[in-house]
């Protein structure tokens, strides 16, 4: 606390660097929030272009554009970068901007560490992207990195392991900051159970990160020593077990998929009440539901592994516990619907994205329930059904909530209103495009098309062509998003303090744009 106050004083009394140095050395939560968001935006276009290359190759059967090995590099890097380079940094950007503003705090608890947490990311990003130019190309073993396949790769595999370590370090530093800020720096009177839901979801997410990132670090370190130092953790010939990697990996990666969605729940829970002009329905049960999802996420990891051949008892346990997660998730959806019920709704772009989130995320949730049934999963796992499932939760879930959040807070951040026409165009093209890409993939998966293949049998042609067309619609409509953001930063209609009629919370009590330093004296919450 006193540290933060001190850092803050320093800013008040000395001129701070400008230009490039301002961004390199900044300890201001708003600058750092912007950095995270820009990083995520750039990475979105990188990983998005890879997705379009993948879809272009899959436009028709046969190998057209690339070698299978390069195809595998693209799917792997697309996945890794979308997860670690787009969704997670974007959410961190929101946390940096919004958590202090929502809590009435002057900055994050550890501003200097905050700077470090961000600047590690571009380092890791360059390592990942640069590995395309190494001998043998980038990592091609899937973002899941299963050995023994992962042991076979070239030098970029070692580089990727290092990049994963660095990104994990960054996440842990960010999480410590968020937890400390939320627990220690709330304005007087702002009890935990009055705190905006976005802060709650990030608090829980940050704990998930701290619990799981070391597990990932352990798993990839074991890969690294297996690859380079003759250990045999995952090598059966040396007494190891390849399936052990999967257990460790998914013990990290299942909670990780909730890391990718809980902050989205938070954003949507801020946006919907604003445009329904009605308080969030069931605030307390939202908090409990979020916490139960987080806790349950630690006992269901092996539902990603039904096909490795588990004993009956194992399959049944993981099937039942996975199904259980549907209960709190359902509660959340019902609460959002009840918030809209008897509201006084308007449909600005953030609200449109939030509504699309609720519907489409639910479709992703339902396909998740289908996959939870172990026998059905045996047919569907590692097919395009799974690709459809996780893109419904990641694209129309995580990514759409990010769009909703950007449109929602951009006027607060920049002081300018975005163009509602462009925003709505972006919305409709994205929703339509997104469904054209991913809905047919359910059918492809059911009919038996495996995932991660560069070429396919003839009966899968039509749906693949539809998906590819959708991908290009979705991909290119993101250029509209880029335009909206850049235009709004440059100028536009002046935004008021309380940008949205129905907006509640401390962030709407400060001017737009939010001044470089806010809450020099803590506001009091009744």
């Amino acid at each position: 606390m006193s540290d933060a106050a001190h850092a803050h004083d320093e800013h008040g009394h000395h001129a701070h660097p400008t230009g490039l140095m301002r961004w390199l050395t900044t300890t201001n939560h708003k600058d750092i929030g912007s950095l995270y968001l820009f990083f995520a935006l750039i990475m979105l276009f990188m990983a998005g272009s890879m997705a379009l290359l993948i879809r272009a190759e899959l436009f028709k059967p046969g190998l057209q554009l690339m070698h299978p090995d390069f195809f595998n590099q693209l799917t792997t890097m697309h996945g890794l970068i979308m997860i670690f380079g787009v969704i997670m940094p974007a959410f961190s950007g929101f946390a940096n901007w919004q958590v202090p503003l929502m809590l009435g705090a002057p900055d994050m608890a550890f501003p200097r560490m905050n700077n470090w947490a961000f600047w590690l990311l571009p380092v890791a990003g360059v390592m990942l992207l640069g590995s395309f130019w190494l001998p043998g190309g980038a990592v091609a073993g899937g973002w899941t990195m299963y050995p023994p396949l992962f042991i076979q790769g070239g030098v970029s595999y070692d580089l990727t392991i290092l990049a994963v370590h660095i990104m994990g370090l960054s996440s842990i530093m960010g999480s410590i900051n968020i937890i400390t800020t939320i627990l220690n720096m709330r304005a007087p009177g702002l009890t935990l159970m009055k705190m905006p839901l976005f802060c709650w979801t990030w608090l829980i997410t940050a704990y998930l990160l701290i619990a799981t990132m070391p597990v990932l670090a352990g798993a990839v370190t074991m890969l690294l020593t297996d690859r380079n130092f003759g250990t045999h953790f995952f090598n059966a010939a040396g007494g190891g077990d390849p399936v052990m990697f999967q257990h460790i990996f998914w013990f990290f990666a299942h909670p990780e998929v909730y890391i990718l969605i809980l902050p989205a729940f938070g954003i949507v829970s801020q946006v919907i009440p604003t445009f329904a002009r009605k308080p969030l329905f069931g605030y307390a049960s939202m908090v409990y539901a979020t916490a139960s999802i987080a806790i349950l996420s630690f006992i269901v990891w092996a539902h990603h592994m039904f096909t490795v051949g588990m004993p009956v008892a194992g399959q049944l346990f993981f099937m039942f516990s996975t199904m259980l997660i549907a209960v709190p998730t359902g509660v959340k959806v019902f609460n959002w619907v009840a918030t809209m019920w008897k509201g006084s709704m308007t449909f600005e772009t953030p609200m449109l994205f939030a509504i699309a989130f609720v519907c489409l995320f639910t479709i992703g949730g339902f396909s998740g329930l289908v996959l939870a049934m172990a026998p059905v999963d045996i047919q569907l796992q590692d097919t395009y059904y799974v690709v459809a499932h996780f893109h419904y939760v990641l694209v129309s879930g995580a990514l759409f909530s990010i769009f909703a959040g950007i449109y929602y807070w951009l006027p607060k951040w920049t002081g300018h209103m975005y163009s509602e026409t462009l925003g709505k165009t972006h919305f409709w093209l994205s929703v339509i495009g997104m469904n054209i890409v991913f809905f047919p993939m359910h059918f492809l998966g059911l009919a038996g098309m495996p995932r991660r293949i560069p070429d396919y049998a003839l009966q899968f042609t039509e749906f693949n062509q539809i998906a590819t067309v959708g991908a290009f619609i979705f991909g290119f409509s993101q250029l509209i998003f880029l335009t909206v953001v850049l235009k709004t930063i440059k100028g536009g209609a002046k935004a008021s303090d309380r940008v949205w009629e129905g907006a509640e919370g401390l962030e709407w009590t400060v001017p737009s744009p939010a001044p470089y330093h806010t809450f020099e004296t803590a506001p009091v919450v009744k």
Binding site: L149, K278, V308, F366
Partner: protein, 383 residues
């Protein structure tokens, strides 16, 4: 939000399609030909119906308020923000629905896992990138590789109807028999998946997992490897031919005959031209996927054989690599248990005389047999 309704309609279609008449179209689970696959099909239908039902109820409510409770139509916001009774109801009801779904699902899990009392057992081994089959009761052994010609893949020839789903040697099983599968892998993890019989089982190097099926309809059923296993993961199909008991017996007899012929080959001496000619076929089937038909390999990943130190160096080292694989950790695995002595002799000879490698020498089956023996003796010392 019109697209929502279209989607709902599509989901509905998918449910209706499960009533078998439309089931041949490639947008639903493949028509099942075993008890387990049928149970999975029904389980999937059940869950789909439940999901569609819930979806309609919840989103009809939501769309009602989207239409009726909008500010532009003058609706004033109410101020309620909790209701314990409602919240308890919508926690408990889904829970009960889930329990209702868990019961039939658990029954199928138990059925799938019961591999007892098989009529026959087949050991299946995944390799990069082919499948090996060992019939433990009938002593048949063979490999099964993609049969689609490269020209079709590269687009210079017309693709046939079973493009990418055709193999040289399909797995053959009798109809109506419980077949126990022992699945493993030799290099990386693969997954043996044939949707119509309801089996997907990972093959894990160093471990053996079992699964079973009993096909109740004569026919040809196709599947693919379902675990990312490297470059040619997409080119690793599986074909199961379910035949009558008599046809199965006849097939076993024929397989044994060709195994004897192969064994006889191992005892022969061939001319260099014979070896080169046969070696080219072996090369295309086993080596060209990585080293390429033109011997140029893939720079950075797979070494070129044209002009390589191995293919133009001492022949013993060359034989050693083909038998036992390359450096640990590379994708080059040994072919000692995958190819016969005659085949290895042929392919080594081919590699040494093809492209610009005009070595002019040859390896004979007897050389390979000797090289095998040498390593068996040396192995304990190396440990």
């Amino acid at each position: 939000m019109k697209s929502m309704w279209q989607r709902a309609a599509l989901v509905g279609m998918m449910g209706a399609a499960s009533q078998s008449a439309l089931a041949d179209y490639a947008y639903n689970l493949q028509p099942p030909v075993s008890e387990v696959a049928r149970d999975i099909f029904h389980l999937h239908n059940l869950i789909m119906m439940v999901c569609i039902g819930i979806f309609i109820v919840v989103f009809a409510t939501m769309f009602y308020s989207l239409v009726k409770h909008r500010k532009s139509s003058g609706h004033q916001a109410a101020h309620f923000h909790e209701n314990t009774t409602v919240e308890i109801i919508w926690t408990v009801i889904p829970f009960i629905i889930l329990v209702g779904m868990a019961y039939p699902a658990a029954k199928v899990v138990i059925e799938m896992k019961d591999t007892s009392n098989p009529d026959m057992t087949v050991k299946i081994t995944g390799y990069q990138w082919k499948w090996g089959y060992d019939y433990l009761n009938d002593g048949v052994h063979f490999y099964s590789t993609l049969a689609t010609p490269r020209e079709q893949i590269n687009g210079t020839a017309e693709k046939d109807p079973h493009y990418l789903l055709e193999v040289d040697n399909p797995m053959v099983v009798p109809v109506g028999k419980r077949v126990r599968l022992l699945v493993t892998a030799n290099d990386v993890i693969h997954s043996w998946w044939v949707p119509a019989v309801g089996v997907k089982q990972d093959g894990i190097p160093g471990f053996i997992r079992d699964a079973w099926f009993k096909a109740d309809k004569i026919g040809t059923y196709r599947g693919q490897c379902a675990e990312l296993c490297g470059k040619d993961h997409g080119f690793m199909p599986i074909v199961v031919k379910v035949v009558s008991e008599d046809d199965y017996r006849a097939w076993v007899a024929k397989q044994k005959g060709s195994a004897q012929a192969a064994a006889a080959d191992n005892g022969k001496t061939f001319s260099r031209d014979e070896l080169v000619e046969r070696g080219e076929k072996v090369f295309q089937a086993n080596c060209a996927a990585c080293h390429q038909a033109n011997g140029m390999g893939i720079p950075g990943t797979f070494p070129a054989l044209n002009g390589s130190k191995v293919a133009t160096g001492p022949i013993a080292a060359h034989i050693g690599i083909v038998l036992h694989g390359g450096r640990p950790g590379t994708a080059m695995v040994g072919f000692a248990d995958r190819l016969s002595d005659a085949e290895i002799a042929a392919v080594v000879t081919y590699e040494r005389n093809a492209w610009n490698n005009k070595m002019g020498d040859a390896a004979q089956p007897a050389d390979i047999a000797a090289a095998r023996g040498a390593v068996v003796a040396a192995a304990p010392a190396a440990q």
